[in-house]
Symmetry: C2
Subunit: 224 residues, 2 copies
Amino acid sequence: MKKYTVGLIRVLTIQDEELLNLHGKLIEKAFPELKVISRCIEDQPKGIYDEKTEEEAKPKILRLAKEFENEGVDAIIISCAADPAVEEARKLVSVPVIGAGSSASALALAYARKIGVLNLTEETPRVIKEVLGDKLIAEDHPEGVSNTLDLMTDWGRKEAINAARRLKEKGVEAIVLGCTGMSTIMIAPILEKEVGIPVIDPVIAAGAVTLHALRRLDVWGDVR
Amino acid sequence: MKKYTVGLIRVLTIQDEELLNLHGKLIEKAFPELKVISRCIEDQPKGIYDEKTEEEAKPKILRLAKEFENEGVDAIIISCAADPAVEEARKLVSVPVIGAGSSASALALAYARKIGVLNLTEETPRVIKEVLGDKLIAEDHPEGVSNTLDLMTDWGRKEAINAARRLKEKGVEAIVLGCTGMSTIMIAPILEKEVGIPVIDPVIAAGAVTLHALRRLDVWGDVR
């Protein structure tokens, strides 16, 4: 089976190789059809957490996207639930550009029409609100948690489960995770087991959309 | 690589084996990870074309879904852009149930925020309107075309291209095909080549969502 090469952009500065590659490895595990090369933006160890840091990150993301395209990747994933610079990158490069936030919220709509978003701390990313529209019926986050490290503790995980339960009590039929930090700690299956409705991981979702983006073009090869 | 078995339900009565299996073959070509078994509902050679025929079809679709589940399929696709009986089937069986209409409209949102729907003749299916919400900015159909046979003629294809162009002129950034009859005649790549924006085929989209539905559960195997 044909393997595709995907450039994955982490929107925070990561020195540790293993951590840098974690989202890519997750995608390769779910979709062995994809070979993922991960790179991160420079000089932003805290990543994107407000409009100012998003604006700072955008040119760096676009530079990496151009670099990946020049090296011949088949597609580019911007591995952040806020889809930073996704629209700009689509204008800049000719390969498919996939955002983790739009992928997760879009795929959730293929499973249900009443969607909840579970955020880490901050608000629901704008792109997720836009994609879900009036199908976004509830938003929540784990109480007292301020970063993914908190979520890895016993109490943090418990608060995340509580938040997911509150979403379900409000009638939500599928949950979108509003931060790829939750992919890093692989909390989706834990939450799904507890609440019994689909919990959509943004990194896995980006992998699925990437495979669709590539295969949907290849399948017609002899028709076009 | 693990292969999954998928039961695919055609919502019209088809005697011809090749025609019956066509959607399944398309999915297998795009996603060789999926092995598709196709079956069709009985006594509805004209399929679903209004509320009455949809109501007639629903119990037949649900019977096939239950039959597929009993035979141990990993997922079920209802291969119609109107998602007939998809919600009911989800309550009836425990494997993922994927609708072609919700899949196509959901995936379109992963690529763009201004979506157009290209229908065969009839109105845009309700499920597509619901999923797209205010991102549905234009609907159109080929003039003078009343079925997929018309679309296979030179003039029919030309009218479909004209309709796709009109959608693009209205600012649409991705097009959802509003009928799986357009998958049968494989018109997506022709339209995409002409208008230069993604044209989302509902059958291929259903395959992509099915693979996501299955892999997203399998990937966590050792975490859960």
